[in-house]
């Protein structure tokens, strides 16, 4: 039983964009299985420390979910011809989803704002819609995309950037 005297900060729902899932998949493939050629694909999770910080943040939420559009976008990433190892990468995606207990929901195109889809694309809009659908669970959106970040802020939704979670905190010089 955790014995921390501090009250546990209740975090209910995390909504994951493609970028953070892709970084988790790649880092595991590089770090655990030694697929060194994938290292150059990593942008934000480059070492155990940043992986740990990201894992701790995700693990602090009771539920994790994403949209079916994000899964399709992961498919585009994996299909890039120069990447190779498609089967292994899909296996990793399956394992990430299973191991983190990821839920997945479909947001139909006709349910999305046409104006927003034109401006941001259906993947980002599906995440905004997910956040609205689950507003009572105080969801947090996790992304690497600063445009989606701004849109969430403008819509009054909680949002975190992976690059801020994984950045090494350094005290300012005196």
């Amino acid at each position: 039983m955790p014995s921390s005297p501090e009250p546990i900060r209740r975090r209910e729902l995390l909504i994951l964009d493609t970028g953070p899932i892709w970084e988790l998949v790649l880092f595991h493939a590089v770090d655990q299985f030694g697929f060194e050629r994938l290292r150059r694909e990593l942008q934000f999770i480059k070492d155990q420390q940043s992986y740990g910080r990201c894992g701790q943040f995700i693990g602090s939420f009771r539920r994790k979910t994403t949209s079916a559009s994000v899964v399709a976008e992961l498919g585009y990433q994996i299909r890039r011809p120069k990447l190779g190892g498609q089967e292994k990468l899909w296996n990793r995606v399956y394992e990430e989803f299973q191991n983190m207990g990821m839920d997945e929901e479909v947001i139909r195109l006709v349910e999305m704002s046409r104006l927003l889809v034109v401006r941001m694309g259906p993947v980002d809009v599906s995440l905004l819609e997910l956040a609205r659908r689950h507003a009572d669970e105080l969801p947090v959106v996790l992304t690497v995309d600063s445009a989606l970040y701004r849109e969430c802020m403008n819509a009054g939704l909680c949002v975190s950037l992976l690059q801020e979670l994984t950045a090494i905190w350094e005290p300012l010089p005196k």
Partner: protein
């Protein structure tokens, strides 16, 4: 033509293809393999009943390069490798089947199933609280014995923190792990565990030797036929390179 096959010319494109498309990915694959085997991480998965990252040699090579692979094996210059690759692949299959036998044994052993159930019950009763770091594992219940067996086969020490079973494994790893010392005799799986351990050691030793032989062979080919060990990127700032890019 016959003499060309037996003795390729300097800067031979054929030899270049062997080095870049065959030897380099196989050397990379074997390096990963030896690294994983040294740590005891077999990357074995119960859903596929094979290793995620330790594969037969042919699978380390891109599908489009299979003709070059066959050409490499057919040439007398590389004569020793067909046998060595075959031996490696047979050993991979052997270790996979030993891991599967050990896994099946654990799954069927009453003491193992009882201990998993007991640990899970204890976890649910004592550890699950409002802290999301201790998630309820109801939806995993049927999978937990398989997961624990997989963790034991792969010598998993710490799971990533965002995995649902992170805290469960953090608390109960040592309880399951202590059976490693007794070679799983309490689960009546000593024989299958020992067979797996011997097969892993043999694969590790064979792969290490094959890796060293392939590195030496690459060095020999590169120096004899005067070719770089990997493609050299063109300098686009150089007008002559730019013409060919």
């Amino acid at each position: 033509m016959g003499s060309n096959i037996a003795n390729p010319p300097t800067h031979s494109r054929r030899v270049e293809a062997w080095v870049w498309a065959i030897l380099n990915p196989v050397i990379d694959g074997l390096r990963r393999e030896v690294g994983l085997l040294s740590k005891g991480n077999l990357s074995w998965r119960s859903y596929s009943r094979n290793f995620e990252s330790i594969r037969p040699i042919r699978e380390y090579i891109e599908a489009t390069q299979q003709p070059n692979y066959e050409d490499f094996l057919a040439d007398p210059l590389n004569v020793t490798f067909e046998e060595a690759f075959k031996k490696h692949d047979e050993q991979v299959i052997k270790v996979e089947s030993c891991a599967a036998r050990f896994f099946d044994g654990l799954m069927q052993t009453e003491p193992f199933r009882t201990q998993v159930a007991k640990s899970l019950e204890e976890y649910e009763a004592k550890l699950s609280s409002d802290d999301p770091q201790y998630p309820k594992l109801e939806s995993f219940r049927g999978e937990i014995p398989k997961m624990v067996a997989e963790y034991l086969i792969n010598r998993t020490e710490v799971l990533p923190q965002h995995y649902m079973t992170y805290k469960f494994w953090e608390h109960y790893r040592s309880q399951f792990g202590k059976f490693l010392k007794d070679e799983f005799e309490p689960y009546r799986e000593r024989t299958s565990f020992q067979t797996l351990a011997v097969a892993v050691k043999t694969l590790h030793d064979d792969s290490s030797k094959l890796l060293a032989d392939l590195i030496n062979h690459r060095q020999m080919l590169c120096s004899t036929y005067d070719i770089p060990a990997a493609p050299v990127p063109l300098d686009r700032g150089n007008p002559i390179d730019a013409l060919f890019s």
